[in-house]
């Protein structure tokens, strides 16, 4: 029995001449929260669609031991996802959506969904069409969190929602859903909001995985130094990934350079994930 939820070997996808995903190999273990980060059109959704059995692909891909392209129905017993657009059927009433999921999904716990929904203002007798954007997401989240799945994929789940709701969304995901027997994959542009819950990250650029790392290790690797005036030359010798000027002082970002050495150059600080992403995508000294 494998402990990997996803095992991809040479996974690729082309549309004609355009390679949306270059051959990629990666493994995602159980009990992780993985952030997949990349610019628009970098290939995040393409990769996730392959994993979810929503499109054909080249290469080997195994998700929970299933072949997603031929066994999507079976796969969805253990995998759940929220796509990057509102997908709940607008013509259905909230209660009818719950009836349907209860009918087709053996791992759906309706009582649990009701307890999630009772904390919201989502009205049961209304059609999905009549719900606000926030309520629709709350409903969808209540459904997926009540399904006892091993893998949950969230593609830009909080797009267009206000900040209070986004905070609640991730809080309940972390507190009430996630455990060591599940893996969650999140893609989002709002990196700052997810970085504290992620255990792993993957950066994608132009259809290529450029970085795959454990969050703790990653944040330790990158250090930003606000260089003390006069030490600029010394700082430049250590090969910074990128250089900038803040408040008239030179700032340098380093990867895998001893923290004590850097401390001698000036004030050091850890980088946030967004800054690491930008540095990795634009930096030269890798």
């Amino acid at each position: 029995m494998t402990d990997y939820v996803i095992e991809a070997n040479g996974l690729a996808k082309s549309y004609g001449d355009f390679q949306a995903l270059k051959p990629s190999s990666f493994k995602v273990p159980l009990g992780r929260i993985l952030g997949v980060i990349g610019a628009n059109g970098a290939g995040k959704t393409t990769m996730l669609n392959a994993v979810l059995g929503l499109m054909s692909y080249e290469g080997d891909l195994s998700v929970m031991g299933n072949n997603p392209s031929s066994e999507r129905g079976k796969l969805m017993q253990d995998v759940c996802f929220i796509a990057d657009v509102a997908t709940l059927p607008k013509w259905m009433k909230v209660s009818e959506v719950l009836d349907y999921v209860e009918g087709v999904h053996t791992k759906f716990d309706r009582a649990k969904a009701m307890s999630f929904l009772n904390r919201t203002k989502v009205p049961q007798d209304r059609k999905v069409r009549a719900l606000s954007k926030g309520m629709t997401v709350q409903l969808h989240l209540a459904i997926v969190m009540s399904i006892d799945a091993k893998l949950l994929v969230l593609d830009e789940p909080t797009l267009g929602l206000d900040i209070i709701f986004r905070k609640q969304f991730y809080a309940s995901l972390l507190e009430e859903y996630f455990d060591e027997d599940r893996t969650v994959i999140i893609t989002t542009h709002q990196v700052e909001e997810v970085e504290h819950i992620l255990s792993d990250v993957m950066f994608i650029r132009d259809g290529e995985i450029v970085l795959e790392a454990d969050m703790d290790e990653l944040t330790q690797q990158f250090i930003e130094v606000m260089v003390t005036p006069g030490k600029e030359e010394e700082a430049a010798k250590l090969n910074p990934m990128s250089k900038g000027i803040t408040f008239g002082k030179t700032t340098c970002i380093y990867k895998n350079v001893d923290r004590d050495t850097l401390a001698a150059l000036g004030e050091t600080r850890r980088l946030g994930l967004a800054d690491i992403f930008v540095a990795t995508m634009t930096g030269e000294g890798q």
């Binding site: 129905g73 996802f81 709940l88 059927p89």
Partner: protein
């Protein structure tokens, strides 16, 4: 099994305007007309060859019919009850056509396909459930409404005739009514199997078209007919379409009239409910065209499933 029930229930909910409201409203409309006119029937001189001045209302008419056409009366009444649901059945092909046309199209347009695909239901199950609901569950609902309308009509007329004084029991030819329900449904099944390649074509288009599925569904066969006429000067495709959509009955019943002396509604009804059903079944099962049509239907259904696998 649960999955299947949930899928069919969802389809019925999705199409409830066409599947439930249309037959109910049209039947209610007809019933209202029947009731109002039956109460108001005066002298039946409107019908050209009826010239009985003693007939003042439905009750009288029934009395007269009982005296003069006793043998044909039950059949005549049964046939009359089917006429009541004509309006509803006229809408039926449209309901079927538009339901098939939107079955695999709307879910892509509103992106709900991504939600359905997040559930442990295979694409073939989805397509099968849609086809099953539209081709089989919808007519069951229509038949149920038709039967209810017949019973309500009989009840309303009974009340009217009770007041007017007439043979109320003549309004309840139950044996004929019941055998009519079964044979009509059986005939529908046979009709649907013949029409299946065309029904499956519409379903295939709904999975294929990125927009305007109705244009694809109608213009493609039209283009084939025109091209065939222009370049080959033949009408093979058009006659195939006509045959699958009901023209086969002309062939199936080709020999039926011979040797039979059809005189009045009783003989006609006996034939339709009895011999015709067996003739049609026998003809179909031994017809190469019938089986070829089913194979073509299978091809389109397979295509629809494959397209749905790729659709997002």
């Amino acid at each position: 099994m649960n999955t299947y029930i949930a899928l069919v229930k969802r389809e019925v909910l999705d199409g409830k305007n066409g599947y439930i409201r249309v037959p109910l409203i049209l039947s209610a409309l007809t019933l209202a007309m029947v009731f109002l006119s039956s109460v108001g029937v005066g002298e039946l001189n409107l019908v050209s060859d009826i010239d009985h001045h003693e007939v003042k209302n439905i009750g009288d008419a029934l009395n007269l019919a009982q005296q003069e056409e006793a043998a044909d009366l039950p059949a005549g009444i049964t046939a009359g009850y089917w006429v009541i649901s004509l309006l509803m059945w006229a809408a039926f092909p449209f309901v079927i056509f538009f339901s098939l046309l939107s079955a695999l199209y709307e879910e892509r347009r509103d992106r709900s396909i991504l939600f359905w695909k997040s559930m442990p239901v295979d694409d073939w199950q989805e397509v099968a459930a849609k086809l099953f609901t539209i081709v089989l569950v919808t007519p069951v609902i229509f038949f149920a409404v038709a039967i209810a309308a017949q019973l309500v009509t009989a009840l309303l007329l009974s009340i009217v005739v009770l007041f007017q004084g007439g043979p109320v029991l003549e309004l309840w030819p139950l044996g004929l009514m019941i055998s009519g329900w079964f044979s009509m449904f059986g005939h529908y099944i046979l009709w649907a199997l013949w029409a299946l390649p065309i029904l499956a074509w519409v379903l295939f288009v709904s999975a294929y078209a990125s927009r305007l599925p109705i244009m694809w569904a109608l213009i493609t066969p039209l283009a084939v007919i025109i091209a065939e006429g222009m370049f080959l000067d033949t009408h093979v495709f058009a006659s195939w379409l006509g045959r699958q959509l009901g023209g086969w009955q002309e062939w199936a019943f080709h020999d039926l009239g011979r040797g039979l002396d059809i005189d009045g509604p009783r003989d006609a009804l006996n034939m339709v409910f009895g011999a015709a059903q067996w003739e049609a079944l026998k003809f179909s099962l031994t017809s190469m065209r019938f089986w070829t049509g089913l194979v073509v239907a299978g091809g389109f259904v397979y295509g629809a499933i494959e397209l749905r696998k790729r659709g997002t």
